[in-house]
């Protein structure tokens, strides 16, 4: 085959936007082709006379190029291989690069010989929604049917390896954001830019210019390309203007929050080490929507054959890329714009056989263009069929009757390989609608135009229904001036004039939503509305007949507009047909909601850098590296990495935890408790505040003393616990659970600011300022005494539940004599920067005592041995203090505290509430799974009544047996009774309900 057989020479197309001197080689469906710099995959394939590119979704009918950009419904290709493969790219939007490899999708074995075409032969059996009516018998076969359906569906193939590319995000503010770099957008940018406003103008294409790139019209009496170059030069010189090609404005969100996607390396191919794509999040003072309009097709028999193409696309291939989409051409239109296309094609040496116009009276200027080129115009006519095998080879034209619902006898036949169709234009109102903008129906143009919006935004040019270049330039200029003024930028002095073009008079289009077929063939032909999903006019009408009368029903029942093009060319014709079938006006049928994104955007780009390890920040204590260096295994607790246990040579978790637990009771254990939440509470009303927040009384807590507190949510459920200490008069240090540090801080602030602003109390989160090191065990006091000379750490000097300020190993410290292990225990708080130093000092000095670091797992075992709860483990948002057998902490005297009133409600007075108890398994070495459900009668039928579950369960090395905490209905009064736990492996374990304190019930060790 001749290289680029359909590439038009410079003699025929002078101003194409390709560099003919630069060849680019690429592969499509295994064959190598040549294109030029500036080509898209589509334009290069057109230039190489490749017409059959894709297959449709349902019937696997041949599909060729129908559009030239984002609107094309069909030409999805798979680009690249391996980890770099990209499914479903639209060939019309893929910029060519050397070595590009692309393949058709959803066709087997190949796009030329696709066995899926069998669906087409059966299409009579597969009308819209056929699957709702069948595959129901026998019921068990549905799984098989579904398997087949699923494999048939989908288009491209998802990559299987992790994405090798990176993506990033930019945040930016601007005064005026202009979406669309066509004539109206550029005029707006010039106007706004000259005022000094911060302007961003974006366009999804590889270069700015929009319709100018594909048109031969003059601007300011110069060729469009010349004006474009000077406009871009001027914008480029403006400091506050950012011109962004290859950037799609994909979403307009509330309050002018705009999402942009910039493609940075896609046009270069793989192997670049900058971010492939970048998402810009723009907050714009004013937005100008200048995204142009999308041409619609006409719904006529055989309108899906490759070779049928939007007229504007045909002109774009010719003018922009010097690629000839066909040799002999018939133009089929309902409006004047296609006459310009006819002229462009004719001037490029393409033989335009005829212009078939639905209208009786085309515009005078249009007719003049045709007659100047001796193009025959068939008015009040329509294409009633296309002929050809895999592509169009000819069409038949007949006269249309006055009503537009039938034809008049007498046919004309034309041979042609290209049918350039124009069904009128639909403004791209998508972004306008994203943030709730309304649309109005333009009866004359047969389209929706932007209506009211709450956003600081306006639509101009073709995006606003203005199709004439002169109008676009004027409106763009005006919009740019006004938008800048609205953000406070005005050019002083006389308002200069914007760019101009010659206005052209046009006649209105004629809307015939279904083009009649040849007489007698109505039932034989297929007229496609949605070319991707194979939705025909018959499908639309069937849906309406069956009662799917709303536009949303239509869409969902027929899948119209649900494809990857989201119905850009098909929505309006579909609505027109539905309206006609229902005998309503089109706007009464309504339009489906336009949703972001405007075109599909890479999921990785939306995630940006914030995925993988960067999903969330990692919080580490100042001693983290020590733990790492000493082999700690870590667990995630919220964002924190906490040492879980410290396995030594050959130890498994079980052995390590046992060793750590024994050390804490027999020598010294040391725990990194830095993650505890710490809140500094100050002010004359601080104790009153604590009284309201906690269930117990706080008024009498003396300086130097500590108290355990429980806080409830207002509905009476335990929310958090911790020790709060009186630091000085009117000053307290509250500790919270690690996981709730932030939420408790928020909770306190909320009450203070919103409910009790009269209380003079101030809270400050100081969690990160302090490192907390807990030493626990019989020698803990000896060790502390060695390193601390300014605090009397004796039992009298520093009794249980008290604290002192002093110096430990040279670091300023607050030492708290509190305990979560039941041993003599000191929580030493030092400024975070001293944490590691103190840890090392304690380890060194403690070596002789056998000091042993222990992790969260041993901490859990030790506290469970003592029956201490962990909020979030023993509680789940449904436990009251009474349920936890903690009546002692609920003040009977205080008239009120948060949650108190709720405790008196009916459901809280039941005696069969689930209550916290201990469990001893019959076999002392049997460790119950945490979460195991408890029943009274393990032989009861399913569903088996459950009376509770295990909240914590461990093998206690200190006790030499297993222990468990559990909640059991009425459990507090059932101690000594036996319950049953049916496990997942089918075994049922018996256990006795016990008290919760398994170790040192008198607390002698604690107070020693």
């Amino acid at each position: 085959m001749t290289r680029q057989a359909n590439r038009l020479g410079t003699d025929l197309v002078a101003g194409a936007r390709i560099d003919r001197s630069k060849s680019i080689w690429f592969t499509f469906n295994g064959r190598r082709y040549e294109g030029h710099e500036g080509d898209t995959l589509a334009s290069a394939l057109v230039a190489n006379d490749v017409q059959l590119v894709a297959r449709s979704f349902k019937y696997h009918r041949p599909r060729g190029f129908f559009g030239a950009g984002a609107e094309d419904p069909c030409v999805m290709v798979q680009v690249g291989v391996g980890a770099e493969t990209l499914p479903n790219l639209r060939a019309t939007q893929v910029e060519l690069y050397d070595g590009l490899v692309a393949d058709s999708v959803n066709a087997w074995p190949s796009v030329n010989h696709d066995v899926g075409i069998v669906n087409d032969l059966m299409s009579r059996l597969l009308p819209a929604g056929f699957y709702y009516k069948t595959f129901m018998w026998p019921a068990s076969w549905w799984t098989t049917y579904e398997h087949v359906i699923r494999n048939a569906a989908g288009m491209g193939v998802a990559p299987k390896q992790p994405d090798p590319d990176t993506y990033d995000h930019m945040h930016i503010h601007c005064d005026v954001l202009i979406v669309g770099g066509g004539p109206s957008g550029l005029a707006a940018a010039l106007a706004a830019g000259r005022t000094g406003a911060r302007v961003i103008i974006v366009d999804e294409q590889s270069e700015m210019g929009g319709s100018i790139l594909a048109s031969r019209l003059l601007v300011d009496d110069k060729p469009g390309a010349e004006w474009l170059a000077s406009a871009l030069a001027e914008l480029g010189a403006m400091e506050e203007v950012r011109v962004m090609p290859r950037t799609t404005a994909f979403g307009h969100y509330d309050h002018n929050h705009m999402g942009l996607l910039e493609r940075r390396t896609d046009h270069l191919g793989p192997g670049h080490d900058i971010a492939r794509q970048r998402m810009w999040k723009v907050r714009a003072g004013q937005v100008i929507h200048a995204g142009g309009a999308i041409e619609r097709s006409l719904v006529f028999a055989g309108n899906d054959r490759p070779g049928v193409m939007l007229a504007s696309a045909a002109a774009t291939y010719v003018n922009r890329w010097a690629a000839r989409p066909g040799q002999k051409t018939v133009i089929f239109t309902n409006n004047d714009s296609a006459y310009g296309v006819a002229a462009d094609l004719a001037d490029a040496g393409i033989s335009v056989q005829a212009i078939v116009d639905l209208r009786v009276e085309p515009g005078a200027a249009a007719l003049e263009e045709a007659s100047a080129r001796n193009i025959e115009v068939l008015t009040a006519s329509c294409v009633v069929e296309t002929r050809g095998k895999r592509a169009v080879e000819g069409v038949t034209v007949m006269k249309l009757n006055d009503a537009g619902d039938g034809v008049v006898v007498g046919e004309r036949r034309f041979d042609c390989g290209l049918v350039a169709v124009s069904g009128g234009w639909s403004p791209a109102v998508h972004l306008h609608c994203h943030a709730g903008g309304k649309v109005d129906y333009d009866e004359i143009q047969g389209c929706f135009v932007p209506g009211k919006t709450l956003e600081a935004a306006r639509s101009v040019g073709a995006a606003n229904g203005q199709l004439d270049l002169a109008d676009c330039l004027t409106a763009g200029w005006q919009a740019g001036t006004n938008a800048a003024a609205d953000t406070g930028f005005r050019k002083p002095g006389k308002v200069p004039k914007g760019p101009t073009a010659t206005a052209v008079e046009v006649s209105p289009p004629r809307h015939v939503w279904i083009i009649p077929a040849k007489p007698g063939e109505e039932n034989k032909v297929k007229r496609f509305v949605d070319l991707q999903n194979d939705v025909t006019d018959a499908d639309v009408r069937l849906a309406a007949r069956e009662g799917y009368r709303s536009v949303e029903h239509l869409k969902r029942y027929t899948t119209l507009g649900m494809g990857t093009d989201q119905g850009k060319t098909s929505n309006i014709p579909g609505l027109g047909i539905l309206a006609a079938e229902l005998e309503k006006s089109l706007p009464d049928v309504g339009t489906t909601t336009f949703r972001p994104p405007y075109t599909a955007i890479t999921m990785g780009a939306i995630a940006g850098r914030y995925t993988g390890q960067m999903l969330e920040p990692v919080r580490r204590s100042p001693m983290h590296h020590w733990h790492e260096n000493h082999g700690a295994a870590f667990e995630d607790v919220g964002q924190w990495k906490r040492p879980w246990y410290y396995p030594q040579d050959g130890e498994d978790m079980h052995a390590a935890v046992a060793r750590e637990c024994l050390a804490a009771r027999n020598a010294i254990g040391i725990l990194d408790a830095t993650t505890l939440g710490k809140i500094d509470i100050q002010g004359p009303d601080a104790s009153e505040f604590l009284n309201r927040i906690y269930t117990n009384a706080w008024s009498k807590l003396a300086v130097g003393r500590c108290r355990y507190g429980l806080m409830l949510s207002e509905d009476g459920m335990v929310m958090d616990d911790g020790v709060t200490s009186c630091i000085s008069d009117n000053r307290y240090l509250m500790t919270t659970t690690s996981g709730n540090a932030a939420s408790v801080m928020g909770w306190l602030e909320e009450w203070l600011q919103t409910e009790w602003p009269d209380l003079k109390v101030w809270c400050n989160s100081i969690s990160e300022y302090w490192a907390t090191l807990t030493i626990s065990g019989p020698f803990a006091r000896d060790l502390l005494a060695e390193l601390c000379s300014d605090i009397d750490v004796s039992n009298d000097g520093l009794p249980f539940m008290s604290w002192r300020e002093g110096t430990v190993a040279g670091a300023p410290a607050r030492v708290f004599r509190i305990s979560f292990t039941g041993e003599v225990s000191f929580e030493i708080n030092v400024p975070a920067s001293h944490g590691l130093g103190l840890w090392q000092a304690l380890m060194t000095a403690g070596e002789k005592y056998g000091i042993t670091p222990y992790g969260t797992e041993a901490m859990h075992v030790l506290r469970a041995e003592k029956g201490y709860i962990i909020v979030g483990q023993e509680t789940d948002g449904t436990m009251t203090p009474y349920d936890l057998d903690m009546d002692w902490i609920v003040s009977k005297k205080k008239p009120d505290f948060i949650g108190k009133r709720s405790l008196g409600r009916a459901d809280f007075l039941r005696d069969d509430r689930k209550q916290l108890v201990g469990l001893f398994t019959e076999d002392p070495l049997e460790v119950l799974p945490e979460g195991a459900q408890i029943v009274d009668d393990p032989n009861a039928p399913i569903p088996m009544p459950m009376i509770g579950h295990v909240t914590s369960s461990y093998l206690s090395a200190n006790l030499g047996r297993s222990i468990a905490l559990a909640v059991v209905k009425g459990g507090i009064n059932r101690k000594g009774e036996t319950v049953h736990l049916p496990l997942e492996n089918g075994r049922t374990v018996r256990a006795e309900i016990t008290g919760m304190v398994f170790y040192d019930p008198q607390g002698e060790r604690l107070n020693g």
Binding site: P127, M136, E546, G547, Y557, M603, Y610, L615, M946
Partner: protein, 416 residues
């Protein structure tokens, strides 16, 4: 009702599909009904169907302000499961799942139930404990539920990253094999067609503007198509429940929030089950069309906009790309929003109200779709008998006074 089958398809193919009957009529409202159901979504239509089928009450109108199935029924991510923690929820959702399992045949409308399994991932020790608790409870409640190790998960979902190096590594999962997805529109349409066939009037494009009462009991509704008298009025208007109840001066503990969902472009099968994660916060499945269907939690602010903001999309995509690093190169095709109404305990209200003859069904939060058949079943019972079915008795309005909440926050922290 003319039955749908392969044979009816062939027959109609011969006549070029010109003779298919309407799936449902579009009648004008009558002056009076025994029961008016406000809301033509899945729950309202299912309720109408079971009123007719189970209770013989056919003088029923379903009144819909827009188009049927157009609310949350047509906007959700279609996940069906019953592996709830608390007995009350588990029994209700399991009843619903059982009804789903025969629904295509029951309605003679293929709702495309795909029991491909639902995985709930655990990413830390706390998750694992909760998972084990739920699996244990599910099993004893007769709900299939099993634990999968990371290796099991990798076998089942090869593209998921289960490496221990992940920021929040996958440490296990619960699997409900009977869980899955169904075609949401078909559920609404199937119920509509079957209810219509039993004489229920489905009246679209008719908005209720007032609830008429006399002596503490309802007598009908005011609508944009005139007054309709009714002995009983039943609300099934997810998203707007409290607004409708307000018309009868009934206050509800419900707030409405936007919930977003989104789909990728369709690709060949790459994910064969539903995956949900609380810690990484997102859920995903692949539709029969090939799209990845994804969702996350609700927007925290009260809202009725049916659209969402970009940060939610970002958060969700981070989660999805974390779990499925290769999906990074897929492209997001469409995002949308619904309005869900939520209760303080993340459980629904299916209940009588202080107003005689007025019933409320709402507060399903993000989980209403999976409950559709079960909800309709028990709501119909409640309306017909004027007393709760045993399955919805715990979901009465009174629980907010007594404190007997059914707190599903733990089990349903991520939307579903």
């Amino acid at each position: 009702m003319k039955r749908y089958s392969i044979f009816s398809l062939v027959r109609n193919a011969v006549s070029h599909h010109k003779d298919w009957p309407k799936a449902w009529r579009s009648p004008d409202p009558k002056a009076e009904y025994d029961v008016v159901i406000v809301g033509g979504g899945g729950h309202g239509l299912a309720t109408a169907y079971y009123l007719a089928k189970n209770h013989g009450i056919t003088n029923v109108a379903v009144i819909e302000k827009g188009w049927l199935g157009g609310g949350n029924t047509g906007r959700n991510t279609t996940i069906i499961r019953s592996n709830y923690l608390w007995d009350e929820s588990a029994h209700l959702y399991e009843h619903s799942l059982k009804l789903y399992e025969g629904l295509s045949q029951e309605l003679n409308y293929n709702i495309m139930l795909s029991q491909r399994g639902v995985l709930n991932l655990a990413h830390n020790q706390h998750d694992l404990r909760e998972l084990s608790r739920r699996i244990s409870a599910n099993r004893l409640n007769g709900i299939d539920s099993e634990f999968l190790t990371p290796a099991d998960i990798k076998n089942m979902v090869p593209l998921m990253d289960v490496s221990p190096e992940a920021r929040y590594p996958v440490m296990g999962a619960s699997l409900q094999k009977r869980g899955g997805v169904a075609r949401h529109d078909a559920v609404a349409w199937g119920y509509a067609r079957a209810a219509d066939d039993r004489g229920v009037d489905i009246i679209q494009q008719c908005e209720v503007t007032g609830i008429l009462r006399e002596g503490g009991a309802v007598t009908g509704v005011e609508t944009t198509r005139g007054t309709i008298k009714a002995k009983k009025v039943a609300l099934a208007v997810a998203g707007h429940t409290s607004m409708l109840a307000q018309m009868a001066d009934v206050r509800l503990p419900i707030t409405s929030h936007p919930l977003q969902a989104m789909v990728s472009e369709p690709v060949k099968p790459a994910l064969d089950c539903v995956v949900m994660s609380n810690a990484v916060h997102g859920y995903i499945s692949q539709s029969d069309r090939g799209e990845m269907v994804m969702g996350a939690g609700i927007d925290t602010m009260t809202g009725y906009t049916q659209r969402g903001a970009l940060p939610v999309v970002e958060e969700l995509q981070r989660a999805i790309v974390c779990l499925f690093p290769s999906f990074s190169r897929l492209r997001l095709m469409r995002q949308w929003g619904g309005i869900v109404d939520t209760c303080p305990d993340a459980s629904p209200i299916v209940s009588k109200t202080p107003v005689g003859g007025l019933y409320v069904n709402g507060g399903w939060g993000t989980g209403g779709f999976k409950a559709t058949p079960g909800s309709g079943w028990v709501y119909a019972h409640t309306i017909a008998r004027d007393e709760a079915h045993e399955l919805n008795a715990p979901f009465a309005l009174e629980r907010f006074t007594t404190g007997a909440l059914i707190d599903e926050h733990g089990a349903a922290a991520v939307a579903h």
